[in-house]
């Protein structure tokens, strides 16, 4: 590996090492591998995997279609339920969803590789640009979607299928939301997020307006005046503060910004990383940041989480991945103070924690880790600027089962709503279902009233 010089530096590795480190985490299955893998599916009745999928993809059917040499039909089955099935195949924590439910676990502790099979089928269909949906006759209705992330794209696509015109407003340069900015690079290589956006938009009737931020460039009322309905797929734009002394020292960075910068870098050689990196947090973002810090050439990377292993939001698979890449995960440590030297991070002082009387508390013992780079992955928050009087709870938008908010003609889905699982696949399900609800309302409104005799 490259340099071990202290400080936050770019170019720690050779181009070959960057290339190798940031290649596909799970290489795609080739045809033979896909046939072997698909043979293992039992075609269960009322399959547990399907029930476990937030978008209810007909998994036994799509796998059977692969096994019979019909990957295009398989992709159609997947996209019927989840138009972002390509990305979900890459980023879904399948080990806690469909693959955890697979009955093969009972028999031989090894599930059918549902995620990789889904990628196999969707890759073929997308590579051949096979489109399965046509727009219905134009309805003349217009819907605004705020946020071009998974929820917004899924909602927009389903609305377009129904014949409505859709305008997506997104605050960023590029569409895709977390798919573009928030996914670890090795999970979605080759600019897949943009290719998927193009694939979704190919249905027609969807316009994306970039660099349009709610609360800065327009308000919710502006959109309600121009459109028949609005869907909020805002995601979580804010990040939690550390609330520890010295947070402003040079070298303390939000993990989401670090991950986004990595995703936007072509070579990764321009992304600077410390020699000794401490990542604070216990979720997927913490693991994504820590693993990529290591892959960028950091000598030591330590995840510090304030609770135990069993409390971590990162899945078992993600934790194992981090360990395999050389990341140390330490539990029951909470940041107390960033130690700065000449304004730059030199270390971090941590409180040991425990649970007493059901509450997390410090034990009084402290420790210090040497660090020149601290990445904060301690949770994101919803920013409600520009939404007006919409009902929130615990800082998220309250919706009903169909995705309706407290405001008339306003629906919401994805990470910004209360009770979400903060998963791409859940966001897709909520966007899709909200679109069905919106369509239902718009269609009812456009039907001529029938006189009752």
């Amino acid at each position: 590996m490259g340099t071990t010089e202290t400080g936050i530096l770019s170019g720690r590795l050779s181009p070959v090492e960057y290339e190798k480190n940031f290649s596909d985490l799970h290489p795609p299955l080739d045809e033979h591998e896909a046939l072997v893998a698909s043979d293992r599916c039992y075609f269960c009745y009322d399959a547990p995997c399907m029930t476990a999928c937030p978008t209810s993809i007909d998994i036994p059917l799509f796998i059977r279609q692969i096994s019979t040499g019909n990957p295009i039909g398989s992709a159609n089955t997947i996209f019927d339920q989840n138009i972002l099935g390509g990305m979900c195949a890459r980023v879904c924590p399948t080990e806690t969803l469909c693959e955890q439910a697979c009955v093969r676990n009972e028999a031989e502790h090894r599930p059918v590789e549902i995620g990789r099979l889904q990628r196999y089928a969707t890759d073929i269909a997308m590579r051949e640009n096979r489109q399965f949906y046509q727009r219905a006759e134009p309805t003349g209705k217009s819907v605004a979607v705020i946020g071009a992330g998974p929820a917004g794209l899924a909602c927009a696509h389903r609305l377009a299928v129904k014949g409505h015109d859709v305008v997506i407003y997104d605050a960023r340069e590029k569409a895709g939301g977390l798919n573009e900015y928030g996914i670890a690079t090795y999970k979605a290589v080759d600019d897949f997020a943009q290719a998927e956006v193009d694939y979704v938009l190919a249905i027609g009737g969807i316009e994306i307006r970039n660099n349009q931020m709610l609360g800065r460039d327009f308000s919710l009322n502006d959109l309600l005046a121009k459109h028949d309905a609005v869907f909020l797929g805002l995601g979580l734009a804010g990040v939690n503060a550390l609330r520890a002394e010295g947070e402003t020292a040079e070298g303390v960075e939000d993990a989401v910004d670090f991950i986004a910068a990595l995703r936007q870098s072509a070579t990764k050689a321009d992304i600077a990383i410390g020699r000794r990196v401490v990542v604070l947090g216990g979720g997927m973002t913490a693991v994504d940041a820590a693993v990529q810090a290591k892959l960028l050439g950091a000598e030591e990377v330590t995840i510090c989480y304030r609770r135990g292993k069993e409390h971590m939001n990162a899945s078992e698979f993600e934790q194992d991945l981090a360990a395999a890449k050389g990341v140390t995960i330490r539990h029951w440590l909470q940041p107390k103070r960033i130690i700065a030297r000449d304004g730059k991070v030199a270390g971090i002082e941590l409180d040991y924690t425990t649970i007493a009387d059901g509450r997390l508390t410090t034990t009084g013992e402290t420790g210090v880790l040497t660090a020149d780079h601290v990445l904060k992955a301690i949770g994101q928050t919803f920013e409600a600027d520009g939404l007006g009087i919409i009902t929130l709870q615990s800082g998220r938008i309250v919706v009903d089962a169909e995705g309706r908010t407290s405001l008339d003609r306003v629906w919401a889905g994805g990470d910004c709503v209360l009770g979400g699982e903060d998963l791409t696949v859940s966001a897709v399900a909520q966007g899709r279902d909200a679109a069905e609800s919106i369509n239902h309302v718009l269609a009812a409104a456009s039907r001529p009233a029938v006189a009752v005799a």
Partner: protein, 437 residues
């Protein structure tokens, strides 16, 4: 250690595993390798009459069907009898027999249905020292168009006639190989016996088209865009072969006629099934063509281990043991009542038993119990059909359990009758023999 030595119509071999007449036995090179691998005997690939040998197609000769993970289940071929010169074959046979005196070497023969043709080839074969001959009345493709192979095997009178010639013109034991492409396999077997055959061997391959190319609309294997039916073999044909062997074994007219069992034998277990159904030994081809000659080691050790476990010392202890249990449907005990039972610890909850029963059978397996995914047999609906056992992916998860006499059958509301009763006396049978009044 079980004694696997085999004596089939006086032909001795160290084990009952012979290679069937087919490509693996076409020349000395292959047969030498087979004997080195441990095969007890070979039936040399079919010899034709003197003169220019037959020619084979120069495109693909085989078609196949596969199971999971491309495991070969059925193979078909359009290859003909040996396409090598008769004297080359005879010379090699003689040498191989000299090299391997303890192994069985049988010559398969197919010549035109004329007395002279048989009369002239038999002494040539005898001179090689071969242990016996097998009459190829089975090949269903190519040669049958020329009045040989299955074209003879489908006419019992021809079989009897040719067998009689062979018994007249050679001292070698005669094994008559039968085609399955016939309505009642007992007819040709009886004819062979009438002609004086020492044994029958079966089955030869089954007329088949394994698949069709959906781009070119040509059957596979495709020769320049056309295909013809081939002979089907491999694991898929085993059930058909077992039945035909059993039919001959239990036919009063052929009872006791030695049978060399052939058809999809892949493991020791398959071989044992043929032996207990009345075969005196077995012949193997497709399994060797799929995996090579080494599989005979698995067959020998597997059969031996099973015999040891069960206390069977020689092949005579097992041959034909299942024949008395092969019956006609009308004699099956209608008072025997079995119910499926699902081992809940082994169940992986795939739901296939439920949907098979629900959609296609008797609606006798639950999907939910107390709101939970739970598959359980409802004995008041279960007719004991065994479909759930067969579709369950977990071995021994679902088993059929016979009800003890006197136990209530919840489906009929009646206690299980301890007495044997079959269809011939059943009140619903209009042909039932009436008790004397």
């Amino acid at each position: 250690m079980a004694d696997l030595r085999n004596n089939f119509v006086g032909i001795k071999s160290p084990n009952p595993f012979w290679l069937a007449s087919a490509p693996p036995t076409d020349k000395a090179y292959n047969v030498e390798r087979a004997f080195k691998a441990g095969w007890g005997g070979v039936v040399w690939k079919t010899l034709g009459e003197e003169g220019p040998p037959v020619v084979n197609v120069n495109g693909p000769r085989y078609g196949a069907i596969w199971g999971a993970d491309r495991r070969l289940l059925g193979l078909n071929n359009i290859e003909l009898i040996t396409d090598r010169d008769l004297y080359t074959n005879l010379r090699e046979m003689k040498q191989v027999k000299m090299n391997w005196p303890d192994r069985a070497l049988i010559a398969s023969i197919m010549v035109p249905c004329e007395e002279n043709a048989w009369k002239s080839i038999l002494p040539l074969v005898e001179e090689t020292g071969a242990d016996g001959i097998e009459l190829n009345f089975g090949c269903p493709h190519g040669m049958s168009e020329r009045g040989m192979g299955a074209a003879v095997g489908q006419v019992p009178e021809y079989i009897e006639m040719v067998v009689r010639w062979c018994k007249q013109y050679t001292r070698m034991p005669v094994i008559t190989k039968l085609t399955p492409n016939i309505t009642d396999v007992r007819k040709p077997a009886r004819a062979a016996k009438s002609g004086g055959t020492d044994a029958v061997s079966l089955i030869n391959t089954i007329n088949s088209i394994t698949s069709v190319n959906l781009d070119t609309f040509s059957p596979e294997p495709s020769i320049d865009g056309k295909g013809s039916h081939g002979g089907y073999c491999g694991p898929a044909v085993k059930p058909i072969a077992l039945n035909m062997v059993a039919e001959i074994a239990r036919d009063p007219e052929t009872y006791g006629l030695p049978i060399s069992g052939i058809g999809g034998i892949t493991t020791w277990r398959d071989a044992a099934e043929f032996l207990v159904l009345g075969a005196g030994n077995v012949q193997v081809c497709t399994a060797a063509m799929t995996y090579g000659f080494k599989i005979v080691e698995e067959m020998i050790t597997g059969l031996s281990a099973w015999m040891d476990t069960k206390g069977h010392r020689t092949l005579d202890d097992i041959c034909g043991r299942a024949v008395p249990n092969v019956s006609d449907w009308q004699y099956l005990n209608l008072n025997y009542i079995a119910k499926a039972r699902i081992d809940q610890d082994a169940c992986i909850k795939c739901g296939r038993c439920h949907i098979a029963c629900e959609d296609t059978s008797h609606q006798a397996i639950t999907q939910y119990v107390d709101g939970k995914r739970h598959f359980e047999v409802m004995e008041d609906e279960c007719v004991g059909c065994n479909l759930c056992v067969n579709v369950c992916p977990v071995q021994d998860c679902i088993t059929m359990v016979g009800l003890e006499p006197g136990v209530l059958d919840e489906r009929t509301g009646k206690a299980v009758d301890p007495n044997y009763a079959n269809w011939t006396t059943h009140p619903n049978n209009p042909m039932a023999r009436q008790a004397a009044e």
